[in-house]
Subunit: 339 residues, 4 copies
C-alpha cells in the first residue's frame, strides 16, 4: 500500500473527532479524509463541509461498507468502541481508536480478537506517547541514557473536573484520567506493573464523592522490572493542565515538564513572572495528535506494526481496575488479581 | 467584506510562498487560496495541486487580471516586489508583501504611493511581530508593565550563512538580516531611531569579507524617545537559530528567549542537558506565519488598517542603509542623513 | 537573657559538629563558641584550636558542669542523644540536638520529659526547614497562596549510599533518610499523617538488601487534614544530591528545586548544558545550618519557643516506624498502630 | 612563606573593608586578620572588636610600620589608593587593593612602578572574576568550549543610583560602574580593546545629567582579537542587581545569569512566579569576595603571580577614559588615543 494515499473516514465528530478530521485533511502526508460519520448527522456534515470531504453520514456502517475507505478513526463515545472495532475489523478496515477501547476486559479482548482475526492494523489513541517532550524522555530511557530505571514519577492534573454527569459514567478517575498515566508508566519503563496501591479523596468537589469517585489521588506501583512508580492526579489545577514525567535510573534522570504558550519573562519589583502551562490537552497535545496520526498512517502504508498496540490498550485498563479495587479495599492489589 | 471569504492568490512559490500557500489553504479562517503564480510555472502547479487550488500560472499578471481574486501575497524575489505592488494596487488587489519592499528608497516610496492611491490594504511580512513570545513582550511594553523603555537588547543569529552567491546580491547583512531586528526595535520601543552606529567583521567566513559584507555585527542606536538599543548579529550560531529580545525600562524588564522542540531535561554525571533552540525560522516562526496571515485577512475583511504598514516596511530599510554607511565610514550616522 | 551573648558548647566534633562549631564561632550574632567535647579528645582540641576556643575535652560532662556554658549543641552519635539530652536538661542547659533524638519512642519520650521538666529550650536539627527555598515554600503555603493543600510531593535522593557498616546500624532508610522528608511533609502541610504506605527495594546495591534494608523507596500518606503525600527516595543519584518539594493546593502550586554551584549555561551543537545540583547536604544546606543555629540562639536569648520542637523530633520517628512496618507487612499502616 | 599564616591588616573599614575583614578573620585558610585601620579610628576599633583583632588604629601607617604584618588590604577611599600602594610597597607589604587604583593614568603607573620595584605581590579587587558563574564562563571560553570568541555581551545594572554627591566625584559612570564590565570583557575575551564607542543618557534621574553624568549607557567595542563586544548599563533596575554575561563564539555560547535568594516557584492563576535576583553586590558577590581573598592569600603564600594584576587594574581605566571621551565627542575612540 506504500505508493498510494490512505483513504480515512472519521467516526464520531465531537471534539476529538474534529481534531483528527482536521489533521487528516491538512497535516498528514499520505492520508486523505474521505468521509465523516456521527450519530448527529449534522455534525458529520459540518466537519465534511469544512474540509471539502464528499461523504458525511449519520450511520457509521456506511463507511464500513464503502470499499474506497481504507481505514477508520473511531472517535465516538467509549461505549461504542468495542462494537465498532469488531465491525470495522470484519469489514477489513484498518483501525485507529480513541482510548479506552472499553472498561470491560471481556469486551476489550473480544474486540482485539476480531482485529487479530481480520489482520488489520490497530492503533489505540494514547496521544501522549507522541508528545515531543515525552517521546524524547522515552527515547533517552530506551537508549540507556538513564541506565536501569529505578523510579518513575508522573504528575498529571487537569485544569477543571469534567461535568458531574460525565463523572458518573466515566468509570472513575483511574479508568478515565489515570489511564493515560498508566500507559505512560508502561511506555517509559518498558515494563508491566506487578502491584498497585491507590489513595484518593474528593478534595476539589464533594459532589464528586457523592458520585462515588475521587478527584485527587496518588497511585504507587511495583513494576515487574523492579522499578517503582508514583502518579499523582488532580481533577483541578487552577493554573491549567499540568503534565510532567520523570524517569530516574542508575545513570541519571530524564524528565519533561509543561510547555507554555510563549516564552516571555517579566521581571519587576514583585518578582520574575512567566507564562502558565498550555491550558488543556487540546493545546498541549496539538502536535502529539498530528504525530500519532502520521504514525498510524505510516504503519498502515508501510505494513508495519503500529507503535501503540491492542495490548497497550488493554493493560492500562487492568491497571485502572486494580487501582480502583485498591482504593476501595485499602490494600495493594496485584494485577494478577484482576481477571 | 466582513461576511464573505477572502480569495487570495500567492505570487512566488518558493520556500516562503509555499508556507503562506499552505497556511492560506488550511489554517486561515475567512481565507481561501484560489490561485498560485510562479515564474517557474511547474512550481505554481505543484503547490496548487497540493492544496486543491484551481488556478496555477507562470504569469502573475493573470492573477491581477482575475476579478475573483481579492488579495495577493507577494513572495517572489525582492527585486520584483516594488513593481508587483504597483501593478497589484492598480488592479485593486489587497496586498500582503514579504519583506523587504525593496532596498531602494525611491522604489519603496513609489510602491507605497501606488498603494495609497489605490486605497488597498497593505501589510509587510515582518513575521516576528506575530511570534507569540515577541508579541507578548510588545504587549507588556505597550501596557506600561515595564514603564518608560530605557534599553532595547536584541540578539539575532542564524544557524548558517546563506550561499555566497546570495550574500553578493543580498544588499548586505544590515538590509538582509538586521532589517528584522530594526523592525523589532521600532515595534518594541514604539519609537523611530535617531542615530545608528555599527561595527562588524567577517569572523565566520573570510569569503564573506571578499564579497564586501560582514557576518558578525553589533549595531547601537539612539531612539527619538530617548531609549538606547543594541543588536548583535551573527550569520552562524552552530547551535541553531538564536532569537532573543529584551526591553528594560523604568518599571522592570520584559524579555523573550528561544523556543525548543521539546521540554526534556537529562541530568547525568556530566550536568543538566536540555534541547537546543528550534533550528531556523521555518520552525521558530511557524506559528508567527499563521498569525500574521490571519491578521492580514482579518484587516481586509474588517476594513481595518493592517498591523504592519507601508511605513513599517520603509523605516527598517532607512535604518539598514544608515548602519551600512556607519560601518563603511566608521562613525555614527543620523537617519536624517539617509535620503 | 536578651542583652548578653549565649555561650555554647558543642558535644561531638565529627562532620556535623564541626559545621555547627564553625557557624557558632563565626556566623551567629549573639552566640559564642566556648567549649568543645568529643570522645576522641583530639577532635575536640582540633576544633577548639581552629576557632580560638578555650575549652576542649574528651568528656562532655565537663561542659554540662560548667556554669558559664548556657547551651549545648549535641552532635554526637545517635545512640548517645537521649542520654545527653537528659543530663543536659538536668544541668539546666538549653539544647540544640541533631536529628534524630533516638529510634526508640520510649527513650525519645523520656528525653523530652526531662526537657519539659527542666524548662530548658530544645530544638531538633531538622535543618531543611531553614533552607531558603524550602522556607519560602512553607511561607507561601502558610500564607494561603496555594490554598488548601491537596498533594505534597517530595523527591529526596542522596549522591551515594553510606558505608554498609553504617547501613546496618542506621535504623533503616525510613528512619535514617526519609525522616527528613517526613519532617518536611509535616512542616509543609501543617498536619500530622494518618496512615502510611511504603514500597521499596534494593536497586542500587544488593548488599543493602542483605543488610536488611532497601535503597530505593516510595512512601505515600494520607494526612489528617485530608491532603495526600508522596515521597520518593534513592540512596544514589549519580548526578548528586536531589532535593525537591512541591505543595499543590486549591489555589496553585509552590515548589522548590535544587540549587547549583553556578549559573552558567553552555550551548553547543549537542544541546544546552547547565551545572549539576550542589553535591550533597554540606553544600546544599550550608546556609540552612547557619540559619537554624541563628534561630536556636535567637529563641533562647528572646525566651521564645524554638521553631522545631521536641514533638517535631518525635513524630517523624513514628512515621518512620510506620513506614518500616508497612514495607515489611505489605500494607498501609496507621500511625495509631505505632506505640 | 608557604608553611605559615599570612598576617593581614585591613586599611579602610567602610562597607567593603568590613567584608574583607570578616572574610580574612573567618573564611580564609592561611590568613589571619591582625590589624585594622581607618581614618575614623572608632570604625577600626569596632571591626577589630568584632573579630578579636588586637590592633586597631586611625593611622594606617602604623600597619605599614608593623613588621609582623605581611600584607594589607587597601579598602580606603579611591583618592588614597595610589599613595597607600606606594607606601605599602616601600614597606615591603603585599597588597590587595580595591578597584580602581586611581582615575589618573600617571598616578596608576607610579603606583604600579612602586609595586614592581618592591617586588611585592599586588592584586586588584575585580571581584566579579571570582564569581562562580562568571569564573565558569571564563573557564569554558579558555578551554575552547565556545571556540574563537565572536561576540561578548554584558548587561550590568544596579538596583539604584548612588547618592548625587557621590556621582559628582565618581569619575563618571564609565570609570565608576562600567569599569567592572570593561574588566569582564578583557577577562572573558583574553584580549585588549582596540576601539570604544559609547552612547548614554540620563533616563533615570535628570539630576544625574545636571551632575555631568549619564545613568544609562551602551558601550560597544572592537577587540584586538577581532571579537566585538557590547555592554549595557543602567544605574537603576527596580528589580535589583542585574549581572549577566555571554560569550558567543565559533563553537557555541557560554553565558551566566543572575542568582536568586531561593529557588521557589509559585504557579497560580496569574502565572509562574520566581524570586528576583539577589539585591546588590554584597549579596550577589558574597562568595566572590571570599574566593578572591583566598586567591590573593594563596598567591602570596605560594609565591605566585596573583590572578588579577596591576595591568588588569590599569587597562579598564584606559577603556573608561576612552568611553568617556567617545560619549563627549560622539565618535568611536581608539584606546591608543588615551595617553
Amino acid at each position: 500500500m506504500s505508493n498510494r494515499t490512505l483513504n480515512v473516514g472519521v467516526i464520531g465528530c465531537g471534539r476529538i473527532g474534529r481534531i483528527h478530521a482536521e489533521n487528516l485533511a491538512t497535516r498528514i502526508p499520505g492520508a486523505r479524509l474521505v468521509a465523516t460519520a456521527d450519530v448527529t448527522s449534522n455534525s458529520a456534515k459540518e466537519v465534511a463541509a469544512q474540509f471539502h470531504v464528499g461523504k458525511a453520514t449519520g450511520e457509521y456502517r456506511e463507511l464500513l461498507a464503502d470499499a474506497s475507505i481504507d481505514a477508520v478513526a473511531i472517535c465516538s463515545s467509549t461505549d461504542t468502541h468495542a462494537r465498532i472495532i469488531q465491525e470495522a475489523a470484519a469489514a477489513g478496515k484498518h483501525i485507529f481508536c480513541e482510548k479506552p477501547i472499553d472498561y470491560d476486559l471481556e469486551r476489550i479482548r473480544a474486540a482485539l480478537a476480531a482485529v487479530d482475526k481480520a489482520g488489520v492494523k490497530f492503533q489505540i489513541g494514547f496521544n501522549r506517547r507522541f508528545d515531543p517532550s515525552f517521546a524524547k524522555v522515552h527515547e533517552l530511557v530506551a537508549s540507556g541514557a538513564v541506565g536501569q530505571p529505578h523510579v518513575i514519577r508522573i504528575t498529571s492534573r487537569d485544569p477543571a473536573p469534567p461535568p458531574l454527569e460525565y463523572v458518573k459514567v466515566s468509570g472513575g478517575i483511574f479508568l478515565d484520567m489515570t489511564i493515560h498515566d498508566f500507559d505512560m508508566v508502561r511506555f517509559l519503563s518498558g515494563s508491566e506493573a506487578e502491584e498497585v496501591y491507590a489513595i484518593g479523596d474528593a478534595l476539589v468537589d464533594p459532589a464528586i464523592r457523592d458520585a462515588g469517585d475521587v478527584d485527587t489521588a496518588i497511585v504507587t506501583m511495583r513494576l515487574k522490572n523492579g522499578a517503582l512508580a508514583t502518579i499523582d492526579n488532580s481533577r483541578k489545577a487552577v493554573y491549567g493542565y499540568d503534565q510532567r514525567i520523570e524517569v530516574f535510573g542508575s545513570k541519571g534522570s530524564a524528565s519533561a515538564g509543561n510547555r507554555t504558550p510563549d516564552a516571555h519573562v517579566l521581571t519587576d519589583t514583585a518578582g520574575v513572572h512567566e507564562a502558565k502551562p498550555l491550558h488543556f490537552f487540546l493545546e498541549r497535545y496539538a502536535e502529539a495528535y498530528v504525530v500519532e496520526m502520521r504514525a498510524f498512517v505510516h504503519a498502515v502504508l508501510k505494513n508495519q506494526t503500529p507503535l501503540v498496540t491492542g495490548m497497550d490498550g488493554l493493560q492500562p485498563v487492568v491497571m485502572g481496575l486494580a487501582a480502583t479495587r485498591s482504593l476501595r479495599e485499602g490494600r495493594p492489589v496485584k494485577l494478577s488479581e484482576i481477571a
